[in-house]
Amino acid sequence: MRLEIDALSHRYGEELAVDDVSFGIEAGELVALVGPSGCGKTTVVQSVAGHVRPTAGRIALRGEDVTDVPPEARGVSVVFQRSTLYPHMTVGENVAYGLGAQDIAPARREELVADHLELVSLADQRAARPAELSGGQRRRAELARALAPSPDVLLLDEPLSALDRTLRIQLRDEIARIQRETGVTTLFVTHDQEDAMALADRLVVMNGGRIVASGRPRDLYESPPTPFVASFLGRANAFDATVLDADPLTLRRGDGTVEVSGFKADAPGVSEGSTVTCHVHPGDLSVRPIGTETTDPSIRGTVTRVADVGRRYDVTVGIGAGEDLVAEQVSSPPAVDDDVAVAFPADRLHLFDREAGRRVSLSAV
């Protein structure tokens, strides 16, 4: 394990910002720490970098406890959300800065600076001042500066959040390429699930100071362990129902029933009469005229809004009890006030025990 965070907790005054967080990163891995603003992820990064002394817990690098080691002795480079390039140095001097703290021969230092500027395609900007660079170039110069001293771990703290979407996608691809080329162990922190899923080998999802999920992006997206993860990685799109029968799974909503034929609910504790929260990603829903023949489970409702999002239509369907479902549809949307059936493939239904918020797994019968 290159980096190991063990039972980390941190308080600011009375407020518990990080609550018993533990996870590790293998050498060469790119792990994304995601969660909404204020979930405590920046405190975790600052603890790993050594700029915050955690209230409790342990940080280990290459198996060594570094909790009491000052930042300069950790071998951890950081790229922050705001630019931290030194305005009184050129781009080249900025990249060389971290090498100056090490015992490296001047010729070798020159070479390393040139290599890293090459890596981020800024060889021509070596003599420029940071103020002369564009937003994207500044980010790339910071990456070069962070990588030049060959850190054990690279921390990226919301490095894309201040950028336009176009630039953001470009830089995301570039970070992926640079990480592949250098193989540096990376912790990428972001509140943007799209950036996280696009870049990371593994996600660690935080909410309210705690880790609520961790795993491969696709696994978490396809089998979210809690309703929070389902709506955070996708989009909030849920309804409540009562279990009429667990095998085959049959749900009651108001005066209608939803038959999830071919599947049964596994977990103990979900029995007839228990209340569950059902989540379906908007892309998995399809809106059909009532009466269309289908074996997919479906819910009746009335179209309340059709938003033309350019590349698709977001169809909002009121399904009673004040609940709405949003279906993403590529073409031929229904009209507002149409009575429709919202259908979804049975294996795309995510079921959660409403009390405990735990996922209820379904299996084919």
């Binding site: 050594g50 700029h51 930042p71 300069e72 705001r82 305005p87 001293p149």
Partner: protein, 249 residues
């Protein structure tokens, strides 16, 4: 750009500006009527200029060497009793200089333990150039502390954290990053401190009426000969201050 608030603030503020500028202009037009060079070449005037030029830079240097680290601490750390420390820093600024001088006398005067020991060792702390430096430092040092603190406060802490993470310890980071980035504010603070030190009058009168500096000499000349006799020394003082300010900026 449309002037917000229209004319009202411009008129009110203009009054104050005129009040600041008018005496300055009136004073400069007076210069012709006085024999500037003649009066500046008297031994008394020479001695006063020499004393001021000796003491003010020393006071400024002392205030800077001790004041900039204090400013950095105040900008970057929080500790128990920080408000008390902040109060102590503005104390000399708020204190009337005569009272500050009186206080210095009670601490280092001829009849206090410290003063007696120093005088015994041949370095009297009052009525000496050292006394002038003590008075000037006490009165002027807060300027560099307060201005440099604001300067350090304007440096994004992340830039220092990045330097730490790149392998530099706290002192190297202070030297490589914080100091160059707060340079403008620190220089402004040094300038203000120098200006305040070389112009110091009230506390100097209490602590070291002798040897004379330019401000104390001006006062004595004024008593003896009225306004026209002080114009040359006042101009010299103004010139030194302006030269230093321009040179630094």
């Amino acid at each position: 750009f449309r002037v917000p608030g229209g004319l009202v603030p411009a008129v009110l503020g203009g009054f104050l500006l005129v009040y600041f500028a008018l005496p300055f202009v009136a004073f400069l037009t007076r210069t012709g009527t006085a024999n500037v060079l003649g009066r500046l070449s008297t031994p008394e005037a020479q001695a006063a200029v020499r004393n001021s030029l000796l003491t003010a830079p020393v006071s400024t240097a002392v205030a800077t060497v001790f004041g900039v680290p204090l400013a950095y601490l105040l900008a970057r750390t929080s500790f128990v009793g920080k408000r008390l420390v902040e109060g102590v820093v503005v104390l000399p600024l708020v204190l009337p200089p005569v009272v500050g001088g009186a206080m210095l006398l009670t601490a280092v005067g001829r009849f206090t333990p410290i003063g007696r020991i120093a005088a015994g060792a041949g370095v009297p702390l009052t009525g000496s150039l050292l006394g002038v430096v003590l008075a000037q430092t006490f009165v002027a040092a807060p300027f560099v502390v307060i201005t440099a603190r604001a300067g350090f406060g304007g440096v994004d802490e992340r830039l220092e954290q990045a330097s730490r993470s790149l392998g530099y310890g706290p002192l190297a980071t202070f030297w490589n990053v914080s100091l160059p980035l707060a340079r403008g504010a620190i220089l402004a603070g040094i300038t203000l401190t120098f200006a305040r030190a070389i112009g110091e009058f009230g506390a100097t009168m209490m602590v070291a009426y002798n040897p004379r500096t330019i401000p104390t000499r001006i006062w004595i000349d004024f008593i003896a000969g009225g306004i026209d006799t002080v114009v040359p020394l006042a101009l010299a003082l103004l010139a030194i201050t302006l030269i230093v300010i321009t040179a630094v900026q």
